[in-house]
């Protein structure tokens, strides 16, 4: 990759505009399909999350065999990751890949068919969990044992198109976002295949079972969600600020250090468990070293946005992406701290683990995906978001709720862990000490439910072609606050401009 490939083309020619329009048209069907079904799954996941958090405080709420706390909790996490996370991510990957490769998507129908099978797999999995067929002891692998081939095959069908597009790209230009997307394409099927072969096919894993499961769940976060979220951030930040990424070398360092370090992490949550001590030791070290790619990416993004912070105020995509970047920093710092020997004493198997999970899945990944969706959907539907008010509402409800959700879970985890680690306190102290925070968590889930309802409704209007047909792009604030004279000589593009 050459240095100048990172800089934006100096001028947008009419041919470019026509080509982009053609790409957007070819990706319209699969991208909208993935976004819509992802948004529906997100809404369902929010319902499950709300129900699970209520059930931990009022166990008798909706007393049904199919809705006991463990089943609802497993359904929630899996719907969030495989229903929402993967599908939103795939939509974003397809569109960014097509745009950066400057090639039309040749076979959108295959992707939509594969998407239907993915939805089928997730639906069967969730129904299996609720009906009592799941593996509820394996973290993030709770789907019944027979669903994994469906998901794996479907995913492979989708990434084939990613690779075809990449091979047909305009030669000589490779963007950092494409690296991240390809890394996400290849790593997840590998981890999923290995994990399922060992745990669901060969079995008899003994203590290696939890080791592999925690390794896998960490990889889903750090080698699937992080690459996809960062690919979207590396695409959107330069687009909206109209500047090239600050440093090409920093991006390279961040990418390869993530790839080298992340697959070692995960098992540090078993510190003190009956596993050979080198396993959590290796994993905890890798988790701390993962601060390197985090600092590098954060620095790079910060320097790219620097001077254009007023755009975070008005552009929905940039605001969500910016929030997601902060979420990424928080996730890495929390994982590193909680994987340490000192704190694991208090956080072993406590709600603090849920806090890290929610920070990674929601504060970082989900918010970054919202940013990408607010950017992509107007381009593929050819209409603008209906009102900025709804976007504003969605942002503030989500931001407020997910920050407090993570803080409450973290404090609940420490109270629970401290009670479990105190002399003379019996196990029920942990339940009683954390109960107050769990009540607070219910309120946060109600806010998230409202936020995701607003989002789902807004997205459906766009998909049903009922967005604003003409006019300037929708901004968070109706009229951007008077911006001081542009600092850069480059024209400041606004949201929705064909940049």
């Amino acid at each position: 990759m050459s240095q100048e490939s990172q800089t934006l083309p100096p001028e947008v020619t009419p041919e470019d505009i026509l080509q982009r329009a053609a790409i957007d048209k070819s990706t319209r069907l699969p991208v909208l399909f993935f976004f819509t079904s992802a948004a529906v799954w997100l809404f369902l996941a929010t319902l499950f999350g709300l129900l699970a958090s209520i059930k931990l405080v009022v166990p008798g709420f909706i007393d049904s065999e199919y809705l006991t706390y463990p089943r609802v909790q497993a359904a929630f996490i899996n719907a969030l990751v495989y229903g929402w996370g993967f599908q939103a991510g795939m939509g974003v990957m397809i569109w960014i890949m097509a745009r950066l490769c400057r090639t039309d998507l040749r076979n959108p129908v295959t992707l939509v068919v594969a998407g239907h099978f993915w939805n089928l797999g997730v639906t069967l999995g969730i129904i299996g969990i609720l009906a009592g067929m799941g593996n509820l002891h394996m973290k993030l692998l709770e789907f019944p044992s027979w669903t994994w081939p469906i998901l794996l095959l479907t995913y492979s069908l989708i990434i084939v198109w990613m690779v075809i597009m990449f091979s047909a790209r305009r030669k000589g230009i490779v963007y950092i976002s494409q690296w991240y997307i390809l890394a996400a394409c290849f790593s997840w099927p590998w981890f999923y295949l290995v994990t399922n072969c060992l745990l669901n096919v060969m079995k008899k894993a003994g203590i290696a079972g939890p080791v592999i499961a925690s390794w896998y769940s960490s990889n889903v976060l750090f080698l699937w969600m992080v690459p996809v979220g960062l690919a979207s951030a590396y695409f959107i930040i330069p687009k909206i600020t109209a500047r090239p990424v600050y440093s090409y070398n920093l991006s390279t360092l961040a990418f390869w250090s993530l790839l080298v370090l992340a697959p070692w992490a995960g098992a540090q949550e078993l510190i003190g468990g009956p596993v050979p001590v080198w396993i959590p030791a290796f994993a905890g070290t890798a988790q701390i070293l993962l601060l390197i790619p985090m600092v590098t990416v954060a620095l790079n993004h910060y320097r790219t946005v620097k001077g254009s912070h007023e755009l975070v105020e008005v552009s929905p995509s940039l605001r969500f992406t910016f929030f997601g970047s902060i979420g990424y920093v928080t996730t890495c710092v929390m994982s590193a701290l909680l994987g340490s020997m000192t704190l694991s004493r208090y956080t072993f198997a406590s709600y603090a683990g849920d806090a890290v999970q929610m920070t990674g899945y929601y504060m970082f990944f989900t918010m970054a995906m919202f940013g990408a969706i607010y950017f992509i959907v107007p381009r593929v539907t050819n209409c603008e978001w209906v009102t900025g008010k709804r976007i504003r509402m969605h942002f503030w409800l989500s931001a407020y709720a997910c920050i407090f959700l993570c803080v409450l879970l973290l404090v609940a985890g420490f109270s629970q862990g401290a009670a479990n680690d105190s002399w003379g306190k019996d196990y029920w102290s942990g339940i009683l000490f954390s109960r107050g925070y769990l009540v607070g968590r219910i309120l946060m889930w109600l806010l998230l439910l409202a936020a995701n309802f607003v989002f789902l409704r807004h997205l459906s209007l766009m998909v049903l072609n009922r967005g604003r047909k003409a006019g300037s792009p929708t901004l968070i604030h109706e009229r951007p606050a008077p911006v001081p004279a542009p600092v850069a000589t480059l024209p400041i593009p606004t949201e929705g401009a064909e940049a």
Partner: protein, 282 residues
């Protein structure tokens, strides 16, 4: 790095090595794990001294909680592991070893807690997936069996004590409705593992749920430390079966209880694992 092939190879190298070391290797170690014989003679002076004589000819572990596959399946399916751990961490990582209800010290003779040994990989042999648990919201279940034993006068070895049928009946009632016993409990009810049937005889079946145990207050376990194994003075009316009916645990509930009552991981470790010299037998 412009070629897709070199890129894929580089990614493969990055994730291939950790896949082997962090996943495949631990798995292979588990598959090769064998029970360890207790040593009775020291091959040479540098090795630890022999284990006590009465363990001669035995292997560690001698029994496997994971052998109860039907019960384990119910445990998995109902998601018990989402809230219950089966891990006793060593002293460097927490105070699990001194926690009440962690192991053999269930029957108190004094206020001093007894040390429970921490869990070892051998304790999870024969399990398809060691039930470490995802969260520790409820109590740890590593040594659940010891909470349901009936003390026998004159026998100090708790492993030789039989199960107390009244305490086992308590466990069934607890699974049926935890809040009836502890109103602060946040455990879900597993009513679907029970069925309500017409009484066939006036006395009812032996395995039906019994309510109002320990009517004789003298028989109720001592509450020295807030013993959780107690029954409420009165059950909520809606839980009680109608006249002429009784609540029978299904086979699944019985398998689950059998699995739970088989959970004990306290067998002494061979000195070849611990490297600690056992105390000579007097």
């Amino acid at each position: 790095m412009n070629s897709l092939k070199s890129f894929v190879l580089a990614i493969g190298a990055c994730i291939g090595v950790p896949t082997y070391i962090m996943a495949v290797r631990p798995y292979a170690i588990e598959r090769e794990r064998q029970p360890v014989a207790y040593q009775t003679t020291a091959p040479d002076p540098t090795t630890p001294a022999p284990d006590p004589e009465d363990l001669k000819g035995l292997n560690y572990p001698a029994s496997f909680p994971g052998d109860n596959k039907r019960g384990e399946l119910v445990y998995v399916r109902e998601g018990c592991a989402q809230c219950h751990t089966q891990v006793v961490r060593p002293a460097y990582a927490g105070i699990d070893q001194w926690k009440r209800y962690a192991g053999k010290e269930q029957v108190y003779e004094s206020d001093a807690p007894t040390v429970v040994r921490h869990t070892h990989p051998w304790d999870y042999m024969h399990e398809d997936f060691a039930m470490f648990g995802i969260r520790r919201i409820g109590p740890d279940l590593t040594n659940l069996r010891y909470r349901f034993l009936k003390p026998v006068a004159g026998v100090t070895d708790q492993d030789k004590w039989p199960l107390d049928p009244e305490k086992v009946a308590w466990l069934y009632t607890y699974l049926y409705n935890p809040q009836a016993i502890h109103e602060w409990s946040n455990s879900p009810s597993f009513k679907h593992l029970f069925e309500t049937k017409k009484k066939e005889t006036a006395a009812g079946r032996g395995d039906a749920l019994k309510f109002h145990f320990f009517e004789d207050k003298a028989k109720e376990p001592a509450k020295g430390h807030g013993d959780p194994l107690k029954f409420p003075a009165k059950y909520p009316e809606k839980l009680m079966p109608a006249e002429g009916e009784e609540i029978i645990p299904t086979d699944e509930a019985k398998d689950l209880v059998e699995y739970l009552l088989g959970l004990k991981r306290t067998a002494p470790l061979p000195s070849s694992i611990t490297g600690i010299k056992p105390e000579p037998k007097k």
